[in-house]
Symmetry: C2
């Protein structure tokens, strides 16, 4: 009983877009932030608690899951939704990015990439077709094509070579995905081209010619200044079809999200809210707050008494400080929850602002809140 | 608006007792198991999730809390209930046990104990009166007297000396507690005497003469065989008043709980369900199950489909195995939850069995389930 995959553009305000993605496992309101569930878990959080932050879709990592517990194992167990007890939509990456960043001894050729597993040293082949197969075994609602993601800065030759390879991989990904005929499931292509305007334009144009259910902007947030990232987003988004979702991969800070939505992006994923939460850093209306700081030790105020989420209201900053200092697991759990809830709150705020055509005012007010900084302790 | 502390014996079956403890922060059905919230948190779990396992009361550790964040700090922040967002009853230990087991360079004298903090090397004094004061600052519903808890085996001289000292400390604890006049709050005395029948009897008799709101049996589960522990419980329980709760400190395994309830104990605390959960071990109707074991890797069955708690029903053993192998925080969170839920389930089963006067049958059936072992994987 899978609904067909679809994207509906509900409203626009400038370049910002308010939409709805419908997947085989339910709908996602956009702009949307996807918590990262690397190893079939959003670190430390029960799925119900992830959902309670407002998240409608999570991301799974092909690289991690293919190595442990293995895609065939997950399929035998009923797929990733059942495995991790997340009944909602799931997007999986193709594994390419993490092969590049995590594994040693990788060999890239036309077929795909071969690498040494960081877990047991085995040599593992991840071809374009295998990446599609793995994502089908996992049961991803949205699959991503395999691509080659470079670190920046890189030479124009390198960027062009990787972009052209990614395009050829995109074409083969589509053929493999269509051969599998997973009705109602989606495949996204990935725009590459580094920080080069012309190469990005060519990548976008040729991907659109191939035709995907949605388009990602990849190869950003890999070492370049925010200004460069936003320039590429500004140049790329208009080259993508209005009637398809746009996903900026691996981004970012709350400010990155605000600025990228302003430039026409619909979907995001990032480890920041959970990773920073594990390290004692909270995101909030008042900007980032480092709970390790001794100034919180006696502060009876919650992190944000106006938050929609109880985790930000029901515990004092002093308590959060105590948990972080004592290296208590609950500190990581609560701050991950609080941060995901803040990210979802921010997305909700953006969605409402776009629908009401007051996005510019929302952006200004939100940034003003961050710039003002945290309310000083009594 | 504190209710007076009270204990009501509702039913008995042999020596097993079904009762109700009423505290300033609510009632506790006994026999009861208290999850351990060492540093103002039951490790990894939100208070609502602890409550959802069925727990009605948690334990806090004076030793840890006095060192970090400090008792005065917790008091300034509104007390331990508010600090850790646990609105129900809290029992705190006196700190004595952990001074003995965790700190270096301790010096024991008539006043109490002086030790070097394991956190910063400071010399810290914990007198009998300070232990009572700290527990009042924390706002404990049930405070424990300072006692000297020996490791077993020990010589009779040592055991007697420690027992007599603990008695004198009990008397001073009561004076200090009464001087603070915390209406509706309770102080428990602690029976010591090692594995010596006569010394235990003397300790119990003299504590009853002093008069406490409840009586703990301390100095067990410190290295002696289970048989010795149960013998001491069997000998000590009848020496304690029928109309006061009896608390066996730091015990134990599910079997320990079953056997101690059979011998007239009402309350327990232990780190086993949470500590073992963090190490991949589950407690269940089928006995202990080591989720690290490779036999679970492809097992689609939940840990216990008949469990009253969703955490034991909604995740496959294969998934729990995966989380444990991948060292994912959620493995510790789910298994801690599952284990606490099993402990609470066991206590509920005992309460119902005592009320129905079928405790012996319940004990046999429960042990038979454990002995039968886990259902083999398909």
């Amino acid at each position: 009983m899978n609904a067909a995959f679809s994207f509906k553009l509900l409203a626009t305000d400038g370049d910002a877009r308010r939409g709805e993605v419908v997947t085989a496992h339910g709908a996602v309101q956009t702009p949307a932030f996807m918590p990262v569930g690397t190893q079939a878990t959003v670190k430390g959080l029960m799925p119900g608690d992830v959902r309670a932050t407002g998240a409608e879709i999570v991301l799974g990592n092909t690289y991690h899951l293919m190595l442990r517990p293995g895609a065939e194992r997950v399929a035998e167990l009923g797929g990733l939704h059942k495995f991790m007890n997340w009944p909602g939509p799931i997007l999986t990456d193709s594994g390419g990015f993490q092969v590049m960043s995590l594994s040693e001894l990788r060999k890239l050729d036309e077929r795909g990439v071969t690498f040494r597993s960081h877990l047991n040293g085995d040599m593992v082949a991840l071809t374009v077709e295998r990446a599609i197969e793995i994502q089908a075994l996992l049961g991803a609602d949205i699959s991503m094509q395999l691509d080659e993601c470079l670190q920046l800065p890189a030479t124009r030759e390198e960027i062009e070579r990787a972009m052209q390879l990614s395009l050829r991989w995109g074409e083969r990904s589509k053929r493999a995905f269509e051969a599998a005929a997973r009705a109602g499931y989606a495949l996204f292509g990935i725009v590459q081209g580094g920080d080069d305007t012309a190469l990005r334009a060519e990548s976008a144009r040729k991907l659109v010619d191939i035709g995907f259910d949605g388009y990602a902007i990849g190869g950003l947030a890999v070492g370049e200044p925010q200004e460069t990232m936003l320039r590429i987003v500004s140049e790329t988004a208009p080259a993508l079809p209005q009637d398809r979702p746009r996903y900026l991969m691996g981004v970012g800070t709350p400010e990155d999200l605000l600025e990228a939505v302003a430039r026409g992006v619909d979907m995001f994923d990032c480890v920041l809210p959970t990773r920073n939460g594990r390290h004692g850093l909270a995101f909030s209306r008042f900007g980032a707050i480092n709970l390790k700081n001794a100034r919180h030790a006696a502060d009876p105020r919650p992190l944000d008494e106006q938050s929609a989420h109880p985790a930000a209201r029901d515990y004092s900053r002093a308590y959060l400080h105590h948990l972080v200092k004592a290296n208590e697991m609950l500190g990581a759990v609560l701050l991950s929850t609080i941060n995901l809830a803040y990210y979802q709150d921010l997305m909700r705020g953006m969605r409402e602002a776009i629908a009401a055509r007051r996005f510019a005012a929302f952006r200004d007010a939100t940034k003003e809140g961050w710039a003002q900084g945290d309310i000083p302790a009594r």
